[in-house]
Subunit: 224 residues, 2 copies
DNA sequence: ACAACATGTTCACTATTAGTAACAGATGGA
DNA sequence: TCCATCTGTTACTAATAGTGAACATGTTGT
């Protein structure tokens, strides 16, 4: 299964630009992905044509407006449907609300919303971050939605019984997570395995939060 | 200014997959972008490696989890900062709230949020849709934030005076739009020209909505 | 079981792209 | 002002990628 050098470099260019909040010049970008400057210009010209990249007034590169446009088509309707519900969940519990999906044996965060009224300290959950399915609440909730298996850990069995999962300090010391699985496959055509939940500092009353999380998961699953 | 065929085709592959909510096979994708099937497989393999594409249980292609991850880095913090404020604006006015940015002489929608409590009829504003800056509220608000110019239309002058802009039926008969400019350039390092606003059906009291829109724009601009 | 079809890989030849170096024009500091 | 540095572009050969067909290997329906 071979891959294409030019396309690979173009994508890496996108990733490098994305990782540079203050923008990057074509020369620096070219150095970063290890190609001659002349090639960097050709990559950038192609990406600009599709509006995946744009330039600021200093000529530095930033992600273009086609990026959010593509993202709005990610499992169509899923993110925009979940946003108001997760925002409400975040506001009511004063914790960060997230949605994760399974990709291979990892859970990936695809949406993360902070409460409108920010508190002083906050655990962020970066969209795009990945961890093994079995490791933390987001992944365990997804495993709990699968058919029972010999390989299930006690945590997965417990999560399946309760309909939600609470973990403490598994991704980050001092943080707690609460998650419940979504049931999307029926309507989202071969759709993704997903979960939603909350992350917060350890003094958070995660038991009390499980009801709103399960309720939000039900709402999202039902609307699909 | 030359562009690269391979990268161009890879991006078009992404766009085609994005436009197919129910997924697409590699063969159909290859036909759609006009390449031999063998090349389609190489394009797809490269995109899958970067998790820009994934396959469902039927083998059909969908956008992968790296797409929302990239989008979360679009003018870092801008979308996630604006989301709770725009969601609140949408809920309180019972209209669709949006954010648009200028790209060249066009305004592009980069965020669109419906009220949590959906009404029967709704005007959607599709993320990624473009229109000339001078045409509708989102673009006129952006023009109003620029230095005054000879070329300004009366609408732009009026919007500059008021601090917001109301248009009726310019994008779509029967729809109204209210928008106010954001002031981001100072802090978002050469940042984008942007506006936020509301779109609704024509019976919407857009005059009454202008205050909350201006207030939301102030909040977003201040937090940057 | 069989035909009809779709997926995924491979092949040999042609078209694109990569790599290198060089060039003109802008910008900026001493 | 002059030199140093950055941007954007171009020319040329070695390396990749594209084409179109062929080939196994499943699936599906009859």
């Amino acid at each position: 299964m071979s891959t294409l050098q030019t396309l690979d470099r173009g994508i890496r260019a996108l990733e490098v630009v994305a990782a540079r909040p203050s923008g990057i010049s074509v020369a620096d970008l070219s150095a970063e992905i290890g190609v001659a400057r002349a090639i960097g210009y050709r990559l950038v010209a192609t990406l600009e044509e599709h509006r995946l990249l744009m330039r600021d007034t200093d000529g530095k590169l930033h992600l273009g407006a086609s990026i959010p446009a593509l993202a709005s088509q990610y499992w169509p309707g899923l993110l925009s449907l979940a946003t108001p519900i997760l925002q409400d969940l975040a506001d009511k519990t004063n914790a960060t609300a997230f949605m994760s999906v399974a990709e291979g044996d990892e859970a990936v965060a695809v949406l993360s919303l902070d409460p409108a009224v920010a508190s002083v300290l906050r655990v962020g959950y970066r969209v795009g971050s990945r961890h093994p399915l079995a490791l933390a609440a987001a992944g365990i909730a997804i495993l709990a939605a699968r058919a029972p298996s010999e390989a299930d850990t006690p945590e997965v069995v417990e999560a399946r019984r309760q309909g939600y999962c609470i973990t403490r300090g598994q991704l980050q010391a001092g943080a707690v997570g609460v998650a419940a699985p979504l049931r999307l496959a029926g309507t989202l055509h071969g759709g993704p395995e997903a979960s939603i939940g909350l992350v917060a500092l350890q003094d958070f009353d995660s038991e009390a939060a499980s009801d709103p999380v399960v309720e939000a998961a039900r709402k999202i699953s039902a609307t699909q």
